[in-house]
Symmetry: C2
Subunit: 490 residues, 2 copies
């Protein structure tokens, strides 16, 4: 555990002005309440904020940010805190702006297929609201039943179906945001043909460093008429990886292509009884979706391609119930892995799709060499790996060893011409890897752009960029603040 | 004509250092040669640069930019000078960096479906080089046989087929660029899943204000197996506009949907004998493209949709020759209009697709009220209008009147919830309209981002942003430099 806190006794006076902006029940600074916000999906990191404010209106968000700007107090915007990269970890000398009550769908226009939402709206609620009109919101992170659109925007979230439809940024048409200077800006357009640079694309994936989106215009898609979902078992992980390339090379563009290895299958089976085929070293899930006639045509093509990949078993979902069971297994993996191991880290790296098989062999070797079990489950069509690194945090030094394996995986992805993150973001977890992916000039340019939004560096400082501008922990070895005794690892 | 020049006699000494960087034949500053660069596709504006340098390598481009940075000399990067918004108009006290000799395709990888090119490569050359592998580069501006990829990137160019496939930014995976500070940065990734904000998307559409792309990684697409191209005639422009919505509402996504009105048809017919149906008030071109079986299915669906829109005539291209004839008519319009009028301005505005019919009625009224003929030809699927405003520049005051009509069209697009530019960019032409589309905070944010790349404001200054930081002309009325007698209108 990496934990840090600063005494908040002296902070009460400092926060007096902020307190006045919120009713007492929406300004929280007692220790117990602050503890509820001290971590996110990357539980190895903890930090208690000075206080948490819970705005209910855009004006309250703006007022909070302006107060932070005027008083040089760092802030972290937070939705449901599901970030897996520590992106919503509080800053120990700053405040958290919790956006869960900013959860209104302001407008839903079936004709233009758009929805305007507040940042605290839960991802799945958008699709539920759009369903009566035959529409849905495409990005589908595994956490979609709890994660918020504001977080999806900040981390440019993906999901199983981003192979065909792209990431969150491909579905955000416009953003009204308060920048870290307290200014309100409005960017984007409902047309693909916009003026000048893609400012909306720039804002998506800012990881909370530019400011806070307060109104987001989303693109909705028509729900596919039919799905065709196939589960294919292989006798090796590599064979499953190669099958992915075969499908893509055939010209098919499935809605999703997911791979799970034996360990993931075992976990899912134990947790949710998804009836995956026994004895396969890996399964590949392929889902086609679209108009009925088109899919009728494509499923024949897919069937021929799959037959040529020498599968050991193939299951076709006969109805929606069977389809849901297949997806239930896949979507349960992260939680199911808890049955196999007391603790785990979820890695999130990308390799070029053509090098998937090679990457998987390297990961197997890394697991053997380190003696640390790694369960593999990933968005195969994108080359987006999610190795789950299993360890027991109660055993001395195991967290460090697991983190070293995670770091090794990041290096592997970079070396193969891929990326340190596909969809979880850089956050706390990967910040020290940014300079491994980008040269110094380029990181400097990123930093200048960030300062164009946040000259005082008060918006989620310490994330994404390496450096020591705010308390944060290096991925390996002792952090300067640890050395100084300010923070302790448990 | 809006023309300006500054004496270059005094500039020789100033440019001595730059001259040393280039062999004599690639450093041009005699008046005749400079004149060859004095204008671009928006011929109403002219400015002579101090000198033109013609680099042949990335290192020479970088050296030129560094020299400009060190010596506070403005520069304008230029490909083929086809910009229709005056985006590549020289700055009278600056230099032009001509990139036409930076025209190598550095790498073409059919397996990953990517090409790495220099900025001076002509758009069509990429598709020609990719053709033996069954691939092509999707963005297809009308000028694609001459315009360069660097210009496409700078202006995020579109074309008839961006309805289905998106703009240039959707097909640029990575960029190596020299920023206006002389630093080389490398952004982007071959994966849709990238790290942090979409920096590549930010660079596309920068209109030359951030720096110069020196290596661009492009995404190539597999060539469609078959095309199905239909030309449909209607008895009114509005009926054609409404047909576009009917097609989209049916769930079809054609590769292209283009509309031409009677005046455009007349011009095209006179110029290239494209055999369009006589007597139609407007024609709609719809092109489906994709795998054979899929298109066989979709053409039936399209046929039913079109039948319900009450066309007066329908022609289906029986073979590739007929298809090319249909497209020849459409693509000839800009040049063909020269037969109808000595001069014309091409406007480039966007309205929400659902309001196309309404916009066309308003344009007709504007034409009637102003007594200025307007030919309409446009990317209908995107709501991207290209009204051609016909006038005789030799008649006193006519340029001013035509510009006033163009300005009125921009206002119309904004009022209808659209955009002042779809694909031509803001450039010189629309710069004074930027504050009509975006509020002050937002334009300020744009400017801060621009300064993150170009703190000295030497990269294509005077474009995109309103203001007087460089010699430029307001769209209507006298420019301050005109009032001061520094520049004259012809």
């Amino acid at each position: 555990m990496h934990e840090f806190d600063v005494s908040s006794t002296a902070s009460d006076h400092r926060l007096a002005g902020l307190r006045k902006l919120f009713p007492v029940q929406r300004f929280v600074n007692d220790k117990a309440s602050r503890s509820a916000f001290e971590s996110d999906g990357l539980t190895a990191f903890r930090a208690k904020p000075l206080a948490v404010v819970i705005p209910e209106t855009a004006d309250e968000v703006i007022a909070a940010v302006r107060w932070c700007f005027d008083n040089d107090v760092p802030f972290v915007a937070r939705g449901s805190g599901t970030s897996l990269s520590g992106g919503s970890l509080p800053v120990a000398d700053g405040i958290v702006i919790a956006l869960n009550r900013m959860n209104r769908i302001l407008k839903l226009d079936p004709e233009s297929r758009t929805a305007v939402v507040e940042p605290g709206v839960v991802n799945l609620k958008v699709s539920q609201a759009a369903a009566p009109h035959g529409l849905y919101f495409s990005p589908d992170p595994s956490s979609q039943s709890v994660c918020t659109i504001g977080g999806n925007v900040a981390f440019n979230s993906g999901g199983a179906h981003c192979l065909k439809y792209g990431m969150t940024s491909n579905h955000v048409l416009g953003i009204k945001a308060v920048t870290a200077t307290g200014e309100v800006v409005t960017i984007g357009s409902t047309s693909t043909e916009s003026v000048g640079p893609d400012y909306t694309g720039l804002f998506c994936g800012n990881e909370g460093l530019f400011g806070i989106a307060i109104e987001i215009t989303l693109r909705l898609l028509p729900k596919p008429e039919v799905f065709h979902t196939v589960l294919v078992g292989y006798d090796s992980l590599r064979a499953a990886g190669d099958a992915v390339s075969a499908v893509i090379d055939s010209g098919l563009l499935p809605g999703a292509m997911e791979i799970m290895d034996a360990l993931s299958i075992e976990a899912a089976e134990a947790a949710v009884k998804c009836d995956y085929p026994r004895g396969a070293a890996a399964v590949l899930i392929v889902e086609l979706e679209g108009p009925r006639e088109k899919i009728a045509f494509e499923r024949e093509q897919l069937s021929r391609v799959i037959a040529a990949t020498k599968p050991v078993v193939e299951m076709v979902a006969k109805d929606d119930e069977e389809r849901m069971r297949i997806w239930k297994g896949r979507k349960s993996v992260f939680s199911a892995v808890g049955r196999l191991s007391p603790d785990f880290l979820v890695q999130d790296g990308v390799v070029p799709r053509k090098r998937l098989g090679e990457a998987l062999v390297a990961i197997e070797k890394l697991s053997r060499d380190s003696g640390i079990r790694i369960a593999n489950v990933f968005h195969a069509g994108d080359g987006n790996l999610h190795p789950l690194i299993l360890f027991d945090g109660n055993v001395d030094g195991m967290l460090h060893r697991a983190e070293a394996v995670a770091a090794e995986l990041s290096r592997l992805c970079i070396a193969m011409g891929g990326s340190i993150t596909g969809e979880h973001g850089v956050g706390m977890e990967k910040r020290d890897f940014l300079p491994h992916m980008f040269d110094e000039n380029t990181v400097d340019m990123f930093d200048r752009l960030r300062r164009a939004f946040d000259p005082k560096m008060i918006a989620n400082p310490g994330k994404m960029f390496p450096g020591t501008e705010a308390p944060a922990l290096a991925m390996t070895g002792l952090h300067p603040l640890e050395k100084a005794g300010v923070i302790q690892r448990e």
